[in-house]
Amino acid sequence: MPKPSQPIPIEIVDRARGGDRAAHAELYAVFGGPVFTLARRMLASKPLAEDVLQETFVEVICNIDRFRGDAEVGTWIKRIAINKCLMHVRSSWVSRRGPEIDEPMGEHRSGAVDDQMALERALDCVPDVARAVVWLHDVEGYTHAEIGRLMGRTTSFSKSQLARAHERLRALLEGAEAKTETTLCTPELKTC
């Protein structure tokens, strides 16, 4: 089960269903950040994450009347975003995309960056599918069976991708080999 999202008063959802622009803006204010973070982490690309954020909220506004309230509205919104991210992951364009610089990376910053930035950089270096799996499992709380279904694959596929992602992250975060790789790693060019 995905982990519960931030609760939001039902009145806002009801107003959003009625086409209230202020309520739509409120949904964006609450869930825009989590959606952008999810997309940025899963896709390792700021422009793609922006696209997902935009497409997600267009769909949310256009289809909020179909939201039945079975789950938290945030879970529903994130599910839309995840599906959009997975569409990008599945598209061959993502794996063939060219260089793209989100933020400065490389050896010259290694002394100053904190652990979280190191983890972020390492995550960007994990292959697309494995990165999506590790994020869905470790952060969003999806089970292997759920991830397998979302990706149209098996449970064991999800397990093997997660193991692969963890192994890659550990390797990148420790040891001399990881240090060399992190230095040389440019996720945009998939050199790691």
Binding site: R21, V58, C62, D115, L123, V139, L173, A178
Partner: protein, 172 residues
């Protein structure tokens, strides 16, 4: 650099990122454009439905007429005697209207013979030509005898057309 990689493998603790500026504005633009496109499609659908409905009325009427057996008799075809009057052509207009109604009430033929169709088209063309002359006469306020002659010719042509259509209806 990192004491223990395992300690660092806490992805959930990564900070949340703020949405870049301008995305919400693009969302609103996109939603507005989709709403406009939806309204346009709805208007097109309504227009198409109205066109279909308007077209269906005469078609239905036509089909109902076709389904009913012909009820015409030769008596209906007898021309009404129109008194000759050099200046008044009102009775001719009435007779012309009667023949129009008669023609409109005739059921459409199921089979059309080529030569009959040619005759009908020829008569219809001549009636259209007379109608154009009548319009011209009305516009120029031409002398009544001239108009009477035109109405006379129209009634004759309409009579001929009614006879041809009647013969066609009877299977000749």
């Amino acid at each position: 650099m990192h004491a223990r990689a395992e300690d660092l493998l806490r992805l959930g603790e990564l900070p949340e990122l703020a949405p870049p500026p301008g995305v919400w504005e693009r969302v609103l633009e996109d939603v507005g454009a989709r709403a406009a496109a939806r309204r346009f499609r709805r208007r097109c659908a309504v227009t198409a439905a109205v066109i279909v409905a308007v077209a269906a009325v005469p078609l239905t009427h036509f089909a109902m007429r076709e389904a009913s057996p012909p009820t015409f008799s030769i008596a209906a075809l007898q021309p009404v005697h129109v008194a000759w009057d050099e200046t008044s052509y009102a009775p001719l207009i009435v007779e012309s209207a009667r023949l129009e109604r008669l023609l409109a009430e005739m059921p459409a033929p199921r089979l059309v013979v080529g030569s009959t169709a040619g005759t009908i088209v020829g008569l219809e063309d001549r009636i259209a030509y007379v109608d154009a002359q009548l319009s011209y006469a009305a516009a120029r306020d031409l002398a009544p005898p001239y108009r009477r002659a035109l109405w006379d010719e129209r009634v004759e042509l309409m009579n001929a057309l009614v006879y041809v259509r009647f013969a066609q209806m009877q299977g000749f």
